[in-house]
Each structure stands twice: as structure tokens, then as C-alpha cells.
């Protein structure tokens, strides 16, 4: 099967190169056959890469360790679902995933634009297939997923234990899909620049792909944060890690892009800004791939130095220089059709919003690459941690919450002073009331930025509620329907607008969760003996005992924590620490379990007001002499005997454990982070979803009205 997979990959490279060349040749010669052939080649590429993926996945499922990537990232004892996702835990497999998703997305956009944008599409195809060729060539020459081991080992290395979590199953394909989806509007932007067709047509063709990219990147970021919070044992969901930032930056730029394209569509402005934004978003997506795959920055995700770093850097430089040159050369054609006529307009607010988002991305970029810059200049590596990021990101985040509410209140073109006072009054009062209420009744004054964020959140929620209410009541007064019927219909008529408002609300909820949990967290590291108690905030925590769960795949130690609040039992939590064996025989038959990787299972009780979170670290120092003796005495004992010894050792330890270390955190309102993210993603999905029936009815109604306006002057002249 290795031959079949390799053959499919080689054929894929040839097909991608043909598609790119045929598209350019057909466009320049004006021969539609070549363009049609190039489109078919893209569909064929998707088919060939499907073959490659199926071959590799079947190798994982069959435990075929003659495949080098299977031997290094799976084992016979790896659960089936993790065998399937091990594909993207490796360098080679993740490159295959990138190319595969690219081929699917390219096929989709070419299918959807089959009879439209005929001048732009061939050049967009060439760009997409150029990218596809690059990634396939990278696999064939630098990181081949079909590398062979001969003889094949009897057992594989297994999947790294940190990745054995459902969130990590879904996180990589979501992020990669987001990155790849950005290539679609990027390719069409390049096509538009090359062909000088710089109206809004390329935006309309790819807007949904940009929104899909935003959604998938958002899901990937959310899952990464969720995994970090539940699995890593440090109690946080975001550490400004280099690879977290690498996904955040394109997401921020895409957020800006999704807003500014509305300004170009409606007002013919920000053309240079929009092509620059989408180029920047895609370059940042490539940079994110580079950061993960090159290992150039230390982070929890880095898989070590790789052979693909230099080629990726070359690609990024080529894309950056090429797209910049194109934009500069087309500047005269990118002039705005109108100017912003008033600061009291939606387009002006969108511009401010864009500047905030881009500013945020610049700060994150600087903070992420500072270690590299510092090392290049001084020769010494350093890093910027959370306090640095928080200092500069927080004020911008607070302002964004405000503008998330201000934007929907303004009209396109201009809003009069009287109208502005009318729409701002209630949200402003709500913000003032929230500010005073929280300042008086809570500790919010201790964290002024959080207090302002909550006040601005009250402004935004009120503004959005006002928008929905007015939409419903307007339709209700026109049609005579009750609000319960009128409001859903009004929303369904304009999914793009109201889906966007729902997404805005979700983002504000998410930021409330972040502000509360960051600013008002109670955090203690405790060292407790069995039976001992400690106080954390309003809670009393008692370490009741320990149990051992030794298995072939890992040894787990489970602590029992009894948590009380206000004289009542609040929860019984069982944080655990899992020890996975290393394959290194030098560690010994017993020691290998304690020299390999370890993961945490946190104890967590979530609620709308706060989370109670606990992680556990047993002290294994006392096991040292027993482990050494076991390694010596059991070296030649059969595996079953060794297993019995390990079980006995673990049980003995659990029966009389030494004091253990616990990290206990009381995290206010964290659950709203997840809920807010889901609301935002739901809003995006609602905005993406086409509404053909409603659109058809609206279109017919307006055509009828405008038709009468055309006929009326003609009738008067007659």
C-alpha cells in the first residue's frame, strides 16, 4: 500500500502543476479548453489526495508499522479514534492534511464559480495550485508520509499522551481548515489584481469562504483554549504561547477583513485596505504553519526541529513580496469611489474597529516574534510573557467591546445628531447604571479595566437588543403580526446583518468571561497530607486520599478532594496524574513508567458564577529506591511478572502516600467564555447560511417596485 500512496502523491504533484500551468496558459491564450481542463485537474487532485489519505489512515488502523509515520505516532494499544487522528499529529500527516483540505476547498470554490468570474478564476486557480504543488513537493522531498521502514517494527511509539483528548482530536483539522480557507479569498484577490478587475466581484465570490475561515479558526482557537484549561494542569486557557498567537493573528485580521469588505461593497471604499488585509491574513496563516512545523520558537506545541522550516520561509517571503508588488502596481486602480463623508457613519466606525483589530494583531506579532528578534540582535534568547501582552492588549480589547455595540447603531453614509442621540440614549444609560452598580456592589473597582469592559458590555448588549427589538416591532407594525412571529421573520430576512449581531453578542460574552476570570481569580498552590485541609477563597478543601489505577498503557494516581462551601458540601473532585511509559529500555522495566510523559486530569466543577478547578502532583521521590531495586531484580522477569510488581508498587504507594501538591483555582465566570464562543460561532453559521427563498421573494418585490418606477416616467411622457 505504500506504493499506492506514494504513486497517488506523485500523480497529485503532476496534476497540481498541470492545473496551475493550464490555467495560466488558457487565460493568456483565451482558450477555454485549457481553463476547463485546469478546473478538472483540481477536482482530480482532490481525488488523488483522498486516495493518499485513505491509504495512510488504513495503515494506522491496520497497525502497519512498515509505514514510518505509523510506527512513530501510533501503537497497537492506541485507542482506535486516536489512531485515526494520529495522521495529523505528525509533520508528514499534517502537511498531507493541509494539501488535502486545500484541494477540497479549491474544488468547492471552482464548482461554485463555474460560470462566473471567468477572467479571475484561472489566475486564482493558478495561485491555489501553486500552493498545492508546494505542499505536495514538500512532502515528497522533505517529509514523506509514505516513508518506509524495513524491516517493520513489531510495535509503534504510540501517540503522545498530551494529545489524547477529544479537543485535540478536532483542534488541528479545524485550524488547518481555517488557514486553508483563507487561501481562497487570497487567491481571488491575486487574480483580481492580475486581471485588473478590482471591483467588488472577487469579494462577493469569496466572502463566505472568508467567513468560513474565521469560523474554523475560531473553533480551533476555542478547542485549544478548552484543552489547555482541562488538560495541561496549569489552570489557564490562554498563555500567549507562540502557536496560540500564530492562530490568533490571522483570526484578528480576518475579523477586520469581514467588516471592511462591507464598506467596499456598499461605499466603494477601502479597496487597498481590503486586498492588503487578505494578503496579510493569508501570510499570517502560512506563518502559523511555519511556527508549528519549524520548531523555531519554543512552545508546548513544537515538535522539534524540522526539515520544512526553510522551504516554508521561502514560500512566505515569495507570497509577501509578490503580493506587495502586485498591490503597489495596481494602486491607481484601487482608488476609493467615495470618501468617508462623516465620522458619524457606520463606515467610519468600521474603520476605527479595523484599526483596533489590526493594532491588536501587530502587538501580538511583535510579542510573538520578539524572542527571534532579540536573539538575532543580542545573541540571547528572551521572551515576553502574559504580563506584557495583558498590558497592551487589554485596553484595545475594552475599546473593541464598546465599538462592537456602537457600529450597529450607526447608519451607512451618515446619521444625524438627533438620530444619534435617540439610538445612543438607552445603551449609554445602561452602561452608566452597570458601572455604578458594579462599582458599589462588587470588587470590580479593584480592576478598572474589567469594570470598564463590563460597563461597555452593558452598552453593547443593550444596543444589540434595541436593534433586534426595532426590527421586530417595525415588521410587526407593517404586517400586523405579533412580536413572537415578526421578530424571527425580520431576522431571517437579513441573516447577514443579524447573524453578525449574534456573533457580536457572543464575542462580548466571551470577553466578559475572560475579564472576570483574569481579574478576579483566586489561586493557591497547596501541599497537603491525607486528611489535611486548606482554605481557598470561600472554599475549604480536604485531601481525603489516593487511589492507584495501573494499566498497561499508563499508571494513574487519583486524588480525592472534598470541597465545602458555606458549611455545605460543594463537590467531591478527583484530579489525577497519569504516567505513560517511555520506550527507552535504559529506563528499566519499572522506571520506564515514571521516566516517560505525564499528563494531568483536572478536577473541575463548573458553574455560571465560577469554576472550582484543581490539579494534582504526587510526590514520587519516595518511590525512587523501590524503582531502582525493581529495575535490577525484575530485568529478566517475564512481562506478566513485571506487571504484577508495578501494580503492587502503585498500590503500596497509594495506601500510604506522602504529602502531595495541589493547585487550586477559583475562576469566576469562565463558563461564559465557552458559551460566548459558541454564540459567536452560531451567529457566524447563521450569517453564512444562504436563504434562497427569502432572497428570491425580496428580489421579486423590489424588481416589481423599481419596474413601476421605470414605467411611470415613460407613461407620463406618453
Amino acid at each position: 500500500m505504500i506504493f499506492l500512496g506514494s504513486a497517488a502523491l506523485v500523480a497529485a504533484l503532476g496534476t497540481a502543476l498541470f492545473a496551475a500551468g493550464a490555467a495560466i496558459y488558457g487565460a493568456r491564450r483565451g482558450d477555454r479548453r485549457w481553463v476547463d481542463s485546469s478546473r478538472r485537474a483540481v477536482y482530480a487532485l482532490a481525488g488523488l489526495l483522498t486516495v493518499s489519505v485513505v491509504v495512510l489512515e488504513s495503515a494506522f488502523l491496520r497497525n502497519d508499522f512498515s509505514f514510518e509515520v505509523v510506527a512513530s505516532h501510533s501503537s497497537t494499544s492506541t485507542p482506535t479514534v486516536y489512531k485515526l487522528v494520529a495522521l495529523w499529529s505528525s509533520q508528514e500527516g499534517s502537511l498531507l492534511l493541509w494539501a488535502f483540505v486545500l484541494s477540497l476547498a479549491s474544488s468547492a470554490v471552482l464548482f461554485l464559480t463555474h460560470r462566473r468570474h471567468r477572467e479571475i478564476v484561472p489566475w486564482a486557480t493558478a495561485v491555489l495550485m501553486g500552493l498545492g504543488s508546494f505542499f505536495i513537493a514538500l512532502m515528497l522531498f522533505k517529509a514523506n508520509p509514505f516513508g518506509e521502514l524495513s524491516p517493520a517494527p513489531a510495535e509503534g511509539g504510540g501517540l503522545t499522551p498530551l494529545l489524547r483528548h477529544w479537543a485535540m482530536v478536532v483542534h488541528p483539522p479545524m485550524l488547518y481548515t481555517g488557514y486553508v480557507m483563507l487561501s481562497i479569498p487570497f487567491a481571488f484577490a491575486i487574480g483580481a489584481l492580475i486581471t485588473r478587475k478590482l471591483d467588488s466581484s472577487w469579494l462577493r465570490a469569496t466572502r463566505r469562504f472568508a467567513l468560513a475561515a474565521w469560523t474554523f479558526l475560531g473553533i480551533g482557537l476555542l478547542l485549544g483554549a478548552f484543552w489547555s484549561y482541562n488538560e495541561l494542569g496549569w489552570g489557564g486557557y490562554w498563555g500567549w504561547d507562540a502557536v496560540e498567537n500564530a492562530a490568533l493573528m490571522p483570526w484578528l485580521i480576518t475579523t477586520a477583513f469581514l467588516h471592511s469588505i462591507m464598506v467596499q461593497e456598499r461605499r466603494g471604499m477601502l479597496k487597498v485596505w481590503n486586498v492588503s488585509l487578505i494578503c496579510a491574513a493569508f501570510i499570517l496563516a502560512l506563518l502559523g504553519t511555519f511556527l508549528v512545523r519549524s520548531g523555531i520558537l519554543e512552545s508546548i506545541h513544537a515538535f522539534g526541529a524540522s526539515t520544512v522550516g526553510t522551504p516554508l520561509l521561502f514560500l512566505i517571503a515569495t507570497v509577501a513580496i509578490g503580493s506587495t508588488a502586485l498591490v503597489v502596481s495596481r494602486l491607481p486602480l484601487l482608488q476609493a469611489e467615495r470618501k468617508i463623508s462623516s465620522p458619524l457613519s457606520r463606515e467610519a466606525i468600521f474603520l476605527v474597529n479595523n484599526l483596533l483589530l489590526v493594532g491588536l494583531a501587530v502587538i501580538v506579532f511583535y510579542g510573538t516574534f520578539f524572542p527571534l528578534i532579540a536573539e538575532a540582535v543580542t545573541g540571547e534568547r528572551s521572551s515576553l510573557g502574559s504580563p506584557w501582552f495583558d498590558r497592551y492588549v487589554t485596553p484595545i480589547g475594552v475599546l473593541l467591546v464598546l465599538f462592537t455595540g456602537v457600529g450597529p447603531l450607526f447608519a451607512w453614509g451618515r446619521i444625524s445628531g438627533a438620530a444619534l442621540r435617540r439610538v445612543l440614549a438607552v445603551p449609554a444609560i445602561a452602561a452608566g447604571v452597570a458601572l455604578v452598580f458594579l462599582a458599589i456592589t462588587t470588587d470590580a473597582l479593584d480592576s478598572p479595566w474589567a469594570l470598564f469592559l463590563f460597563a461597555f458590555a452593558a452598552f453593547t448588549f443593550t444596543a444589540l437588543t434595541q436593534e433586534f427589538w426595532r426590527a421586530g416591532s417595525s415588521r410587526s407594525s407593517l404586517t400586523g403580526e405579533g412580536m413572537a412571529r415578526a421578530l424571527p421573520k425580520a431576522i431571517a430576512r437579513n441573516r447577514r446583518r443579524y447573524g453578525g449581531y449574534i456573533a457580536h453578542a457572543g464575542i462580548v460574552v466571551l470577553l466578559i468571561g475572560i475579564a472576570a476570570s483574569s481579574s478576579f481569580q483566586t489561586n493557591r498552590d497547596l501541599r497537603l497530607d491525607v486528611g489535611e485541609s486548606a482554605t481557598v477563597g470561600d472554599y475549604t478543601v480536604t485531601y481525603k486520599g489516593l487511589s492507584a489505577d495501573p494499566q498497561t498503557e499508563r499508571i494513574a494516581f487519583n486524588a480525592v478532594l472534598d470541597v465545602w462551601k458555606d458549611g455545605e458540601q460543594f463537590a467531591v473532585l478527583t484530579p489525577a496524574r497519569n504516567y505513560y511509559p517511555t520506550l527507552d529500555p535504559a529506563a528499566g522495566p519499572i522506571g520506564r513508567y515514571f521516566d516517560g510523559e505525564a499528563t494531568s486530569e483536572v478536577g473541575l466543577r463548573s458553574g455560571p458564577r465560577e469554576d472550582f478547578w484543581a490539579a494534582f502532583q504526587p510526590d514520587l521521590t519516595s518511590l525512587g529506591p523501590e524503582i531502582e531495586r525493581g529495575n535490577r531484580q525484575l530485568a529478566d522477569v517475564p512481562p506478566q511478572g513485571q506487571a504484577l510488581a508495578i501494580v503492587a508498587l502503585a498500590q503500596t504507594y497509594a495506601d500510604d502516600p506522602p504529602p502531595a501538591t495541589f493547585r487550586v483555582i477559583v475562576n469566576p465566570m469562565v463558563i461564559w467564555l465557552w458559551i460566548g464562543a459558541l454564540i459567536a460561532l452560531g451567529g457566524a453559521a447563521f450569517a453564512i447560511w444562504p436563504s434562497s427563498e427569502a432572497r428570491r421573494r425580496v428580489k421579486m418585490a423590489y424588481e416589481a417596485r423599481l419596474g413601476r418606477e421605470i414605467e411611470a416616467p415613460a407613461a407620463r411622457r406618453a
Partner: protein
């Protein structure tokens, strides 16, 4: 067996990709300027309908006063009428 399967796949791909060349070039060109203009005008028309609807919603919600609404609505309708007339002409 694997070799034959790979060969079959490559042959199928070749046939599929090269299918458009079974006929001689028609000289049609990659794009049809009329068809392209019609598609662009249709898309712009839909955008204008959306903008007209949004302007009406903004007036009803109080964001746009009557003078601003009249000016904006008039601009949008004039552009939409121009597009409808152009489309009628192109479709002959």
C-alpha cells in the same frame, strides 16, 4: 496489484483532465464579456436591493432621518434603475 491499481487511477485522472480537448478549440475565449457584465450587474443589483432594504430598516429604527433617508434611497434607486435598464439592453 498495487501497480495496476495505481496505473488505473492515473489513467482515469488523465482521461478526466484531458476530456475538454476531445473537441477542437471553438475560439470562444475564456470569458464572454456580455455574460460577465450581466453577472456583475446581477450581483450589484442584489447588493443594491439589500442596501435599499437596510436603508428602510434604518429609517424605521430611527437611525436615518427623513432627509438623509430620501437622499440615500434616491441614490440607490437611481443606480438600481440604471442597472435594470442596462440588463434589459444586454439581454436584448
Amino acid at each position: 496489484m498495487e501497480f495496476l491499481l495505481a496505473l488505473a487511477i492515473v489513467a482515469l485522472v488523465g482521461l478526466f483532465v484531458l476530456w475538454p480537448f476531445r473537441a477542437a478549440a471553438t475560439g470562444e475565449g475564456v470569458s464572454d464579456p456580455v455574460e460577465d457584465e450581466v453577472a456583475e450587474l446581477e450581483a450589484r443589483k442584489e447588493t443594491l436591493y439589500r442596501e435599499i432594504r437596510d436603508a428602510e430598516a434604518d429609517r424605521e429604527s430611527g437611525k436615518l432621518g427623513e432627509p438623509d433617508f430620501s437622499r440615500l434611497d434616491g441614490e440607490l434607486r437611481r443606480e438600481a434603475i440604471g442597472i435594470l435598464k442596462r440588463l434589459d439592453k444586454l439581454r436584448g
